[in-house]
Subunit: 155 residues, 2 copies
């Protein structure tokens, strides 16, 4: 299969998804030139604000491969990842991300992707959600314990 | 309970989590002055790169309340959210986010939070993961169909 074929599968997942109250977003994860997982936006039907196509596909691929490290995988997504999905892509350490529609296209049909990108770049006190630092000796201690822990699995 | 009590619960979740191969991160979701969900970082034990404390807590709270909209909730997290969790927080539309440790503290004990923030601010062609635009008529069409769909649930 070609890159365009994989993208077509991601876009088809978006199309199919709308038939069952999902949003117009689909993604596939490709390893060794094969699709190993598919995801689509299930926020509304699943009552899960994190159920974006890329998150769903990454979770499914990681479960299938039995590892949180997808560094030998590519993501094909019908739309440029939002900041949440971009973060997930970095944590999963995928190799390449192919996308079709952009964050601006998504904004035009009513999704907040670009707004969230703009919020992220603002200092905390200028954001629309309040971010308040609240010191905690227990939280500090948890990091100190982690630092001292031997044989921990880093990622 | 006071704000400091809620933060203590989030930090305690981080502490407890390390006993079962989890990372030093915990979060609680508070509604009407009550904890309605708790999450901790289960990336390694669950083989799920998206299983950060805030994502876990948001998913649990949304499932419990039966809605993807957590606009009447606050998040208490033992560490400043990474970009993935920050995105999830915006999608869930929570009111306030209280955090203890910072992204720089997290970087110091080996977590990539700050690195990912830096990557997000770079233009796509300067990032460590390749982002490649691949046009798709099907992806374009999926957005056009969405635009024309009536009675869709927007969020």
């Amino acid at each position: 299969m070609t890159k365009n074929d994989f993208m077509k599968q991601a876009a088809n997942a978006a199309m199919e998804n709308m038939k069952t109250q999902g949003g117009p977003f689909g993604a596939v994860i490709v390893k060794d030139n094969k699709i190993i997982a598919t995801g689509s936006n299930r926020v509304v039907p699943n009552n899960d604000p994190t159920a974006h196509a890329e998150i769903q596909a990454i979770r499914a691929a990681a479960a299938k491969l039995g590892t949180f490290d997808l560094s030998d995988c590519d993501v094909y997504t019908s739309c440029e990842p939002c900041p949440m999905c971009l973060g997930a892509i970095y944590w999963a350490k995928v190799k390449n991300v192919y996308y079709a529609n952009t964050r601006y296209d998504a904004a035009e049909i009513g999704f907040d992707d670009n707004f969230i990108y703009e919020e992220l770049e603002k200092p905390m006190d200028k954001r629309s959600i309040n971010f308040i630092k609240l010191d905690s000796t227990e939280a500090t201690e948890s990091f100190e314990i982690w630092k001292k822990t031997e044989n921990k699995k880093e990622y």
